[in-house]
């Protein structure tokens, strides 16, 4: 069937900022869809507030709106662009929920926009729990027993019928926010309350617990002729009870016989038909009772998802791309399989390897939160590994996680862990359970016992036991022979042991093992991911490594450049770096190089098999990267675009002979080495805050005393301000130095004078060693001391004078030249009065590169890659800083609602997961948009709570006055009240909660409070305010925690009150 001709222009809604449960996968799916649709000649209108995405690159769509994803804003876009159709299934839950609102508010009807892919009815059927249940029963499928409730009374009644343990699931949320398992009535009431509040329609489902059952997912695709295929099956190692995003998962399913698999397959097909997803992909989750085989349907997502991205990468079958083509009328048999190029897409991939996905957690960032896993997702990223066996893939995945493990290694000595602790860590799902599983085996626990405690299928435990057994064998053999035989070494490599792991077992080092291995002819071989288990010839070079088998890598004689990606997303290193890597690949292709991408993150665009000429889906470790370099012999290796991960490998790679291009490894070290760097600054006559580095607590105290409190303390060689803190006195210094040493034990601790009330400035610049061109100067909205990744910033600066900006420019030029930067450099400055201090220099791509590129229209990462490949900026015609007339604001998005009990105050340690961009012609409007996009839209009326520290009271008066003048009702705590009232501002006093005044909490619950402005001093903050802040976050009420933020908010509210919000495509800003 040919494509539809009644449609010309299609609107795609993206998923907005990266948050827990919605990450790069939707950039991957959106980018694929944009490309596919434009290939077919459709005009694409795209809306996404996230500037760090490839999909929002001006080349990807015809009209790209980096605007807040709200029905009001989208209505404006629709009114302007008049698209014929909308695809709601590509932007995650955000895309789906927004579409539902657009339908319900009559907007799609009004402008005659058709939904293609999934209808409103289908979305409702899949998302509305009751409707879904009825649909499943209608087609004869089994579900866990469940009852719906819309208030606490109904909820309690329901749980009495279902019994404990019971699951609470709120309707219409993403990533299971607000859900949980209740073992008793008290737990239940707390969860039910939370669920009723977080659900879009205040609906919860109380459900029979299937915790501990085997968990499966099938990725299904359907076309409009009702052809249905299953792209991939996924089995969760962590059984039911742990959110699938937090589970270790394996593809394909391992422990289902064909009979059970076909039953599941039939059910999935029946479900996609019954729900009525006309075209595109869906994800269906099942649970299977391990004792009886009873299979129940858990849920269905009528859209592309994190799992579909995983399935695409695991099989080579591009679900989102095909979903887009199916939506415009093609059928599966009319689409070609890209990889074989001779067979159609109407087939089910056969895979001949094992894929393991592992979640990446960041509990260390939220020390108040326990690392216990449940049905609400907590992980911030994931890595995928491919091996010929589960054992190999698991170990590759564990080292790919970059959490300090070289595989299933022995970070802890099992002999020193008490059995009680092991039992507890096995019983309660947690972030490090997989390692405790090994410790338990080492302690002699049987597979049965571990399976009983964890409810993990014995098949997985047995495989882990085989790894552990081989490890014992290796150790014993080494003790006996003082070496490992070739045979044994080969077995170890086939079981996925890394050189580093083997070094640890044989009192050796990584390089020696590598040498020994090569001497024995044990080189990694590469196999193809080809969708068909080698049945047909594959034309797409998508590889993974394995040992002891035939090598299929087709090495060309072309000039090649290898780009090292960033690995799993984490706080501080995410989509921004993937964006840079993709751009490098695009740019170097333009220059005629063969590009080779190495990465292990299945969510990303960089791991799409058609982003680069070759894709190696491998962990980013020295060993794995070097194996590829040995094979491909690239002319250059780029390490400065993938964040800290490849940068950390740079020195070792260079020592092993890898041709690192761009800024030299020496310069990178120079910028990291405090002493050497200070000398450079001295030479250039650039100031930096007084500082020192300490190797002991004693030394730290000495330094702090010398430079005077407050000081900023942090470990060296970490990203994202990991374990960084502002310390006001000696006692907290001692406490904190201990923490910092744990984080980075081999490196010294850095201590800087903390510049209070300074303005922080971020600069991204390009340099070819001779010429330096500023990419963008960003002024932070929050004061120095709040991590730049968490702070909002504005480009161009809006309060700095020209002299200051010129000084910043001169410093940037001088530093780039001195460090002989080839590529990108990011410098953080602090401006206090007329002084400009350098806080940090990073001779690499920074998190703000995509934002600056979107704000200025200059593709910094692309230019940087070309410079690294030998072009000069002059040759590239990039010689002058771009001046823009519009204002761009970047705002960060924080995950606090996921971690109950965690305070939301910002500090020098980065906590945000993602970012949004607001762009307009005035600061106020741009800021307003950024807040709206970050899901903390500023109010137009209502009540505002103000509680500020003493030093902010004076600054607050002016802000409060404006708010009162605009008609807001102000409420303040005692001190703030006094200061406002004495300035004749109309304000109500509110008492302390501990003294019985709980009005504020009630106002929050009732949704009357629209904004909280609360600045706190130091770390010992007001306990009332802490409660208020966390309660506000839970109810989605914006909380501003700095005076500068409050000022910006007032500007925003005012700007929008004066004139309406306008939208403009990014292509229009740079025309």
């Amino acid at each position: 069937m040919p494509k539809r001709t009644d449609i010309k222009k299609i609107l795609i809604i993206g998923s907005g900022p990266i948050v827990i449960s919605q990450a790069c996968e939707f950039d991957y799916s959106g980018t694929q869809a944009c490309k596919a649709l434009r290939e077919e000649g459709f005009k694409v209108v795209l809306v996404n507030s996230n500037p760090a995405t490839i999909m929002t690159d001006p080349e990807m769509a015809d009209f790209t709106y980096i605007e807040p994803i709200t029905p009001e804003v989208i209505e404006k876009i629709i009114a302007k662009e008049r698209p014929d159709a909308l695809i709601p299934t590509l932007g995650g839950q955000t895309g789906l929920n927004t579409t539902v609102k657009l339908v319900e508010q009559g907007i799609l009807n009004k402008y005659k926009v058709r939904m293609i892919g999934a209808s409103y009815e289908a979305i409702k059927k899949a998302e509305d729990r009751d409707y879904f249940k009825k649909s499943m029963l209608k087609i004869g499928l089994d579900l866990p027993k469940s009852l719906l409730a819309y208030n606490m009374g109904q909820a309690v009644k329901a749980v009495r019928k279902i019994g404990f343990p019971a699951i609470v699931r709120p309707g219409f949320t993403l990533g299971g926010t607000g859900g949980g398992i209740a073992r008793n009535m008290a737990e239940f009431q707390r969860l039910a309350d939370l669920g009723l509040q977080s659900s879009m329609n205040s609906e919860i489902l109380v459900e029979e617990s299937v915790v501990g059952w085997k968990e499966y997912e099938l990725e299904v695709m359907r076309d409009k002729k009702d052809n249905v295929v299953i792209v991939c099956s996924i089995e969760n190692l962590d059984p039911m009870g742990v959110h699938t995003g937090d589970s270790i998962t394996v593809a394909p399913a391992q422990t289902l016989s064909d009979k059970e698999y076909q039953k599941m397959r039939d059910a999935a097909i029946a479900i996609i038909r019954e729900i009525g997803v006309e075209t595109g992909g869906s994800n269906v989750q099942f649970a299977v009772n391990p004792k009886t085989g009873r299979m129940v349907v858990i849920e269905m997502n009528p859209r592309v998802s994190r799992s579909s991205a995983l399935a695409s990468k695991a099989t080579g079958f591009p679900i989102a791309k095909f979903a887009a083509k199916l939506a415009v009328g093609y059928t599966l048999d009319e689409i070609q399989n890209d990889i074989t190029r001779e067979t159609p897409a109407s087939f089910e991939p056969a895979i001949d390897y094992c894929v393991v996905k592992l979640p990446r957690f960041t509990f260390e960032k939220f020390p108040e939160a326990k690392d216990i896993l449940g049905i609400s997702m907590k992980s911030v990223g994931e890595t995928m590994a491919i091996g010929r066996t589960f054992k190999e893939a698991l170990q590759k995945g564990l080292r790919g996680l970059e959490i300090g493990h070289a595989g299933l290694d022995n970070k802890l000595d099992y002999r020193k862990i008490p059995a009680r602790k092991i039992n507890q860590r096995l019983k309660e799902p947690n972030a490090s359970r997989i390692f405790y599983l090994k410790y338990a085996l080492q302690k002699g626990y049987s597979v049965e016992k571990i399976s009983r405690l964890t409810r993990i299928d014995p098949w997985f435990i047995e495989n882990i036991k085989e790894i552990t057994d081989l490890e014992n064998h290796l150790k014993n053999s080494y003790l006996k022979n003082h070496s490992l035989s070739k045979e044994l070494l080969k077995r170890a490599k086939e079981y996925g042991f890394s050189d580093k792991q083997l070094a640890g077992l044989t009192c050796s080092d990584e390089i020696s093992i590598r040498r020994q291995r090569k001497k024995n002819g044990l080189e990694a071989g590469f196999k193809l991911v080809d969708t068909c288990a080698a049945e047909f010839r594959a034309s797409t070079p998508y590889y993974y490594s394995t040992y002891g088998e035939e090598d299929e890598a087709r090495v060309s004689q072309k000039k090649k450049i290898m780009i090292l990606g960033g690995g799993p997303n984490r706080i501080g290193q995410g989509i921004e770096f993937d964006y840079c890597c993709c751009h490098a690949s695009f740019a170097l292709k333009e220059l005629g190089f063969e590009t080779i991408m190495v990465n292990s993150n299945p969510e990303t665009v960089s791991t799409d098999y058609d982003t680069s000429d070759k894709l190696y889906f491998e962990p980013l470790t020295f060993e794995d990267v070097m194996n590829i370099i040995d094979k491909e012999k690239p002319a250059g290796v780029i390490v400065q675009l993938g964040g800290q991960t490849p940068l950390n490998l740079a020195r070792q790679l260079e020592e092993a002979g890898a041709p690192i291009i761009g800024t030299s490894v020496k310069s990178i070290d120079l910028a990291e080495d405090r002493g050497k760097f200070a000398k450079i600054l001295k030479k250039l006559k650039i100031h930096q805050p007084e500082n020192g580095s300490a190797d002991s607590i004693k030394e730290a105290i000495q330094i702090a005393k010398k430079i005077g409190f407050p000081v900023l303390v942090r470990p060296s060689y970490v990203l994202g301000g990991r374990a960084m803190r502002i310390v006001y006195n000696e006692k907290s210094l001692v406490e904190f130095v201990k923490v910092a040493r744990e984080v980075s034990p081999e490196h010294p601790i850095l201590i800087d004078k903390f510049l209070e009330d300074a303005v922080e400035v971020d600069v991204d610049a390009l340099s070819d060693g001779k010429t330096t061109v500023i990419g963008g100067i960003m002024e932070h909205i929050e004061e120095a001391g709040i991590h730049s990744g968490d702070s909002a910033c504005v480009l161009p600066p809006h309060t700095l004078g020209d002299e200051i900006i010129d000084l910043i420019r001169r410093y940037t030029q001088a530093l780039s030249k001195e460090l002989k930067v080839k590529g990108l450099i990011n410098i953080q400055f602090a401006v206090k009065g007329d002084e400009v201090y350098v806080l940090e220099v990073n001779p690499r791509a920074s998190r703000t590169v995509p934002f600056v590129s979107k704000a200025t229209g200059i593709p910094l990462a692309k230019i940087a890659a070309k410079v690294m490949a030998g072009k000069t900026l002059r040759e590239l015609k990039v010689t002058r800083e771009k001046q823009v007339r519009h204002i761009s604001v970047k705002e960060s998005v924080l995950p606090f609602s996921r971690f109950s009990g965690v305070d939301i105050l910002l500090g020098p340690e980065m906590k945000s997961t993602g970012e949004v961009m607001g762009i307009d012609f005035s600061f106020g409007k741009a800021f307003y948009k950024s807040q709206l996009a970050a899901n903390q839209g500023l109010p137009a009326r209502g009540k505002i709570l103000i509680s500020v520290r003493n030093s902010d009271k004076r600054g607050m008066v002016f802000i409060a006055k404006k708010l009162a003048d605009m008609g807001f009702e102000l409420i303040a705590t005692k001190g703030t009240y006094k200061s406002l009232a004495s300035n004749n501002i109309k304000v109500q006093l509110v008492g302390k909660i501990s003294e019985g005044d709980s009005r504020i909490l009630k106002l929050i619950r009732q949704g009357e409070l629209k904004l909280v402005v609360n600045t706190a001093s130091g770390y010992s903050s007001h306990s009332d305010m802490r409660l208020i802040r966390s309660s506000a976050v839970r109810h989605g009420i914006p909380c501003i925690t700095t005076i500068q933020g409050a000022q910006a908010a007032v500007n925003g509210i005012e700007a929008v009150a004066k004139g309406s919000l306008e939208i403009k495509a990014i292509q229009g800003y740079h025309a």
């Binding site: 289902l256 016989s257 064909d258 009979k259 076909q262 048999d333 067979t343 390897y353 035939e550």
Partner: protein
């Protein structure tokens, strides 16, 4: 214990034995199904073949008493990357290794099955020997060369049951179907039962008159192993029954029909063995994911298109997957509508057969 797989063209793969010891000959083929090894092993169509599973982890869910397609395994041997030592399934009763040993079947693990697959894809399915007794590669290659292979060999004789038997009697029986057993899979019989047919299974060498004497409503020509041209007696029987009974052919049965209707068959390079083959129903335009297992194929061009309508095509290589007689109640498919193992998308064909029988009756 070491084991060797030697191919007639000189390629040799080493591994460890996990089944019985001994030496077995067969054509080595690869199967891309990720599940269903038990059904595959017990499918009589695999007589004369050594099966290499492309999915590397085999044996994960063990062996159970239900998922069998005949009374014993028929394959000559099994080649895998890794055989699971400790299966996990509530239905599992033994390991795959134990099952192979019990049935005196050879299994070899530790083989680079992908490399083997690539080799077969390029060089074609070929004669091979699997041995734990003789570990001399040269000698084994020679043995492989000397082995009988599939072409022109009557393997049906070795798998057909030499007696007539009735499958379970359905409640409210509608039709009596004679199943000509060339190596029938149980699931064909189970499907007939589900469709309320009484299946009467007769040996492959049963003559046309004997079949007609049973007064069936229809004839099902079953799947089976090997080269269809080697079973002229079955072709002959079929030819005599054309026009006298509704006939439904599956796999080898389809090839037999093709030959009986005057067509020709040929050997595919490496055959179709897997559970993901897209087949298009030319009448409706719909695509079904089918399970397939055949090394021979009916030549589309050899058929008399005035008499025969092409109903199904394989979308991977455009080979014939189904046909229908334009006047007579006869149709057949190359794939397996009974599934087991594999997708059940094409199960509707049994209902079609019922319709044909009802119309003819």
């Amino acid at each position: 214990m070491q084991a060797l797989l030697a191919l007639e063209d000189g390629k040799v793969f080493r591994g460890q034995s996990f089944g019985a010891s001994g030496e077995r000959y067969g054509e080595v083929v690869f199967n891309t199904s990720m599940t269903g090894y038990q059904e595959i092993l017990t499918d009589p169509s695999y007589r004369g073949q050594i099966i290499a599973m492309t999915y590397p982890l085999i044996g994960n869910y063990g062996i159970n008493p239900e998922d069998v397609e005949s009374f014993k395994p028929f394959a000559e041997g099994l080649v895998v990357k890794e055989c699971c030592k400790r299966p996990s399934s509530w239905r599992s009763q033994k390991t795959l290794a134990a099952y192979l040993k019990e049935n005196n079947l050879l299994g070899i693990e530790g083989v680079d099955t992908r490399s083997l697959t690539l080799h077969i894809r390029e060089a074609g399915a070929m004669k091979a020997v699997l041995s734990t007794l003789d570990l001399d590669p040269k000698r084994l290659v020679q043995k492989a060369k000397n082995s009988r292979g599939l072409v022109g060999v009557d393997l049906v004789r070795e798998v057909t049951k030499n007696e007539i038997y009735a499958w379970m009697r359905p409640k409210g029986k509608r039709h009596k179907v004679v199943v000509l057993d060339c190596g029938v899979k149980y699931n064909i019989l189970r499907e007939l039962l589900k469709n309320r047919c009484q299946a009467v299974v007769v040996p492959a060498h049963t003559g046309a008159d004997a079949i007609l004497k049973l007064k069936p409503d229809g004839l099902l020509l079953s799947n089976g192993p090997g080269d269809p041209t080697a079973i002229s007696y079955v072709i002959e029987t079929t030819r005599k029954l054309i026009g006298r009974l509704p006939i439904f052919g599956i796999c080898l049965g389809h090839q037999v029909l093709g030959l009986a209707l005057g067509g020709k068959t040929y050997k595919l390079k490496f055959g179709h063995h897997g559970a993901n083959h897209p087949v298009k129903d030319l009448k409706t335009g719909k695509v079904y994911i089918t399970v397939q297992n055949h090394g021979f194929c009916v030549d589309i061009d050899s058929l008399d298109h005035k008499e025969i309508e092409i109903t199904h095509l394989n979308l991977n290589d455009q080979t014939l997957e189904g046909m229908r007689h334009k006047k007579l109640p006869i149709f057949s498919v190359q794939f397996h509508p009974e599934a087991s193992s594999g997708p059940r998308d094409a199960g509707y064909l049994f209902a079609e057969f019922i319709k044909v029988m009802e119309k003819y009756a």
